[in-house]
């Protein structure tokens, strides 16, 4: 599910980096609070475990491979904020020190595999686990949470990839980054994740939890905290849904202008390939999402900035709400 560099336009990458920032800031704060205990090494070990889990590739139909991520089990044990931090660190190491995955796309990968998986996985686990007290049920809940969360992450990755050809095409019309639209990217991605990779995540999550129950139950948050999670679940679903909407929205609506603007910038910077007869072409080109029209540039740019701020505002409020819910519950 790692999106390498070259598959996403820098615009998409940049947007996703921005979306990640408040989440990671909150997560770092959470981790810092626990610095006085032995949490830091435990977190790092979960990251290492996540790194290793991501190295274990399962063959998928069609010749590609998929893998589990391990975010859900760390969120169940360490909480969703620290859980997302563990996978983030694993992804940073893969991208930066092993040259695996991408550096511009790191934001996208962190968003899909760390942030969304941690929040969704944790919410689903809490909701399901609150029903019954038996250990067996908790393990099943964890496995189901793992399965759903990884598929959510895969769906997001598919959407991020699938919107590339819609937004970013050269003047002659060929896609510049990932070449297939949503109709191809979503089924291709989901096929492998609904089957093998999803099962792998379910397997890793359930198995590790059962192992913890058997050998070190003190690691698991006491039942009290898990019990009344009914209120949390609907909110969590809304949040996740918003998050999913946010990614394409933040790109699609202003994307036309953004893409255009960046090309304009490029020519100013001296980067892009700007043919002599460019002005004639602009009039001819009118793909639905690509209004190559310089006259609206100023307004669309403002529009983009506005929606950008709106996006950040939504994310911050979501985090704030989520935080409130957690705080309430811990009392």
């Amino acid at each position: 599910m790692h999106i390498p560099d070259g598959y996403l336009s820098p615009t998409t990458s940049f947007t996703l980096y921005t979306v990640c920032t408040p989440f990671l800031m909150k997560a770092s704060r959470e981790a810092k609070k626990k610095l006085d205990s032995k949490t830091i090494p435990l977190i790092s070990l979960f990251s290492a475990l996540s790194f290793l889990i991501m190295m274990f590739n399962v063959p998928l139909p069609g010749g590609t491979t998929g893998h589990a991520v391990g975010t859900v089990i760390s969120s169940i044990i360490l909480g969703p904020w620290i859980g997302m931090l563990t996978t983030t660190v694993a992804l940073i190491i893969q991208a930066l020190f092993f040259g695996d995955g991408g550096i511009l796309t790191l934001g996208a990968n962190i968003f899909n595999m760390a942030i969304v998986m941690a929040l969704a996985g944790y919410a689903i686990f809490r909701f399901l686990a609150g029903w019954k007290k038996e250990t067996g049920w908790k393990i099943v809940s964890a496995a189901v949470a793992g399965y759903i969360a990884i598929n959510l992450a895969a769906l997001l990755a598919a959407v991020e990839l699938g919107i590339q050809p819609i937004i970013f095409r050269s003047i002659t019309g060929q896609p510049l980054y990932f070449p297939y639209g949503l109709t191809v990217s979503i089924p291709a991605m989901m096929l492998g994740h609904l089957t093998l990779a999803g099962l792998a995540e379910a397997f890793v999550t359930g198995l590790t939890l059962s192992w913890i129950y058997r050998t070190n139950p003190s690691l698991i948050t006491p039942d009290k905290k898990v019990a009344k999670s009914g209120r949390f679940f609907p909110l969590a679903i809304v949040i996740i849904f918003l998050l999913i909407l946010l990614t394409p929205l933040g790109l699609l609506t202003p994307g036309t202008a953004w893409g255009e603007w960046s090309r304009q910038q490029l020519s100013e910077l001296g980067l892009g390939y700007i043919p002599a007869g460019f002005d004639r072409w602009t009039g001819l080109w009118s793909a639905p999402f690509s209004g190559y029209n310089f006259s609206v540039l100023g307004n669309s740019f403002l529009g983009y900035l506005f929606s950008g701020f709106l996006g950040v505002f939504i994310v911050v409020s979501v985090v704030y709400l989520l935080f409130k819910v957690f705080k309430l519950k811990n009392k």
Binding site: I93, Q174, P175, F203, L266
Partner: protein, 278 residues
Amino acid sequence: MSFIEKNLENITGAIQNSVFSETIAKKDGFLQRLDPRTKIVCFILFLLAVNLSVNLYFIISVYIFLLIFAGISKISLKFFITRVWLFLPFFTGIIALPAIFNFFTPGKPLLTLINNPQQHFFIAVTQNGLLTALFLLTRVATSVSLGILLVLTTPWIRLLKALDRLHAPQILIIMTMMTYRYIFVLLETVNSMFLARKSRMVGRFTQWENRHLVSSALGTLFGKTQVLSEEIYQAMLSRGYRNKIYILSDFSLTILDFWSIVATTAIIFGLFLIWRTQ
């Protein structure tokens, strides 16, 4: 070969790669002499240029420059090229391939494979399709090569120190440092666990044995994880660690670093100017 065995090989490969890349990082080449901060800046400039570019020749030219950089940094070109191009076809290649045909990317046909007008059945490689696939492949290959160049010529702790100096959040630096270290402990554990297991088995693993192996491996790994985490932290405390990381500063920017950034910018602009007039 079962997927477990394949994974085992990958894991061993990762360890070896890492060992190998550290030996390259210690050679006395051009990129090794640069301050890691400079390298990160130049790396990001190139990466952005490659990913923003809408000109295929521009991307290919940057790749050629990377080959030159690899050469003057004492990296075997054969290794540098094969490390990227050996794996690329399996992942990006498979993804890029269908895009060359008219049903994914319509356009001017270059090579007609099937043309049956009666049934409206037409398959051809299109000009646009070929361009699309080439764009993806070259962009990915050049981006990956850039990453490899950075990793190969910089010992990882110096990269980490550079990130620290560039004001990356300290908590991430601390966690990255520890995680990186644990990865090796865990990798070695997994490796020896499977090798021990394998030596006791004759022939291939059955499906059930595979599953059983993975589950017991996870359990053992997790156990190791916990014991390690407590003790490692204690060992750090014992030697004066107080949740603050200190790094001995041994970075110095030289005139070489200044010229490297100038040269990077010049190369990017120069290449643009060349391909603009085409």
